[in-house]
Amino acid sequence: MDTRSELQISGIGRSQGGSYSHVRTDGMAKINGNTECISLDSNGTLTIEGALTSETVSVNGTATVEGGLKTNRMVLDGMVSLKEHVVCQELLTVNGRLSVGRGLDGERVEIFGSLKTRDDVQCELLSVHGGFSIDGLLNAGLIDVKMNMPCKAQEIGGESITVRRLKKFSVLEQFVPALSAKLQAHTIEGDDIYLEHTEAEIVRGNDVIIGKGCRIGRVEYKNQLTQDEDSHIGAAYQI
């Protein structure tokens, strides 16, 4: 029998960490200490000064977790900052902005907005509508990116990698090139690769399509390479 109690904070409140069944906060809440619960539901501002383990997490507004986070399903609407390693075993949906101080391990990751991590990202499916900045290796089975913000990763690896730019062309990026929606990576490796508006030093894959607006230093492909006229490839080798 589960004897854990619920935690509910409305308005401005502060609580200790610990083990709870359900945690619900509305308004400004602060929990100091490691927290373990079945579900966490937050509206407004939430700060957890410790690690969080919860089966489901849902955030509306802003949230900060100082410690590591482990969960199965997580929906984040708003601005969330997670300072340590994040594990999300089933589905992570972000509408807004998520920044992770370390790495992210997931299964399905859907980003509408932006994702920023300081370390590697690993998941089976990553779909991004917006932008990302990954300071390490992005390793995912299926990567589908629709950019309308700058995207950056040191390395990208996976089975199928698709990077497109959304049609909308903002006036701003014509004047400020740093803000234009393009992907920058050192190495991109995968089986099927489709790239648009990408700057990379090395692209390696079986079937590679280099679409418009790309600048690639070196392409190594096994079966097929298709190049758009409006792109630049330094050197291409069939391996």
Binding site: Q122, C123, E124, N139, A140, G141, G157, G158, E159, S160, H186, T187, E189, G190, D191, E201, I202, R204, G205, N206, G217, R218, E220, K222, I239
Partner: protein, 212 residues
């Protein structure tokens, strides 16, 4: 580690015939440990290299086993920890994982046991393996059981080696967490040096096979 012992990612894929996608997938599933991805600078910038012997052997094993087992089951085979918590001594004997003789010896030291934890199963398995190959005596077997019981808990989930040496007929048994090279004087005779990770893999395969 010497330069010769490393293999670049590109060479590895050519040699083994796997694709980038497979390599990355296996990495995600922890079939290939993070520590084997060695970054070195090369003329194209940073490149990833692997310890050649280890990675080739591992990929060969994954390729051989992946048809029978799912990737998650494979990951479990290669990881030093286990999800099998305990089994009763009777099941172990019935499934032919260990012999009753090895269990009896184990019980002589610790008294009768109804069920064995994974670490104890591993101990009995090692005991049986070494007794059968004639590398250790019964008395040394008892030493083995004690060493494993007292120390393996702290080392669990870490790669370590079990080493037995004899000097003037006096056996000395120890668990080494990271001993790349050890040197002794000439009177010391190495009896065996056993990587626990390999034994754990063997044992897990046996446990999984008989479950199915």
């Amino acid at each position: 580690m010497n330069e010769e012992d490393l293999i670049s990612k590109k060479e590895l894929l050519e040699l083994t015939g796997i694709s980038y996608g497979q390599l990355y997938r296996w990495k995600r599933k922890n079939l290939i440990p993070e520590a084997w991805f060695v970054r070195r600078s090369s003329f194209t910038g940073q490149e990833t290299f692997f310890p050649k012997d280890k990675i080739l052997q591992r990929i060969e094993r994954i390729k051989n086993m992946k048809d029978g087992l799912s990737l998650d089951e494979l990951a479990d085979v290669f990881s030093p920890s286990s999800h099998v918590e305990s089994l009763s001594t009777q099941t172990l004997i019935k499934r032919n994982i260990v012999t009753s003789f090895a269990i009896e010896l184990f019980e002589e030291e610790f008294g009768r046991q109804e069920t064995l934890s994974f670490n104890d199963i591993l101990t009995v398995y090692l005991l049986q393996k070494l007794l059968q190959s004639g590398e250790i005596t019964r008395e040394e077997g008892k030493m083995l059981v004690t060493v494993m019981r007292e120390n393996y808990g702290a080392l669990a989930a870490k790669p370590c080696e079990l080493v037995l040496i004899r000097k003037m007929g006096v056996p000395l048994l120890f668990l080494a967490e990271s001993a790349e090279q050890i040197y002794f004087d000439k009177d010391v005779k190495w009896i065996f040096r056993l990587s626990l990770a390999a034994s754990i893999e063997e044992l897990k395969l046996k446990l999984n096979n008989t479950e199915a």
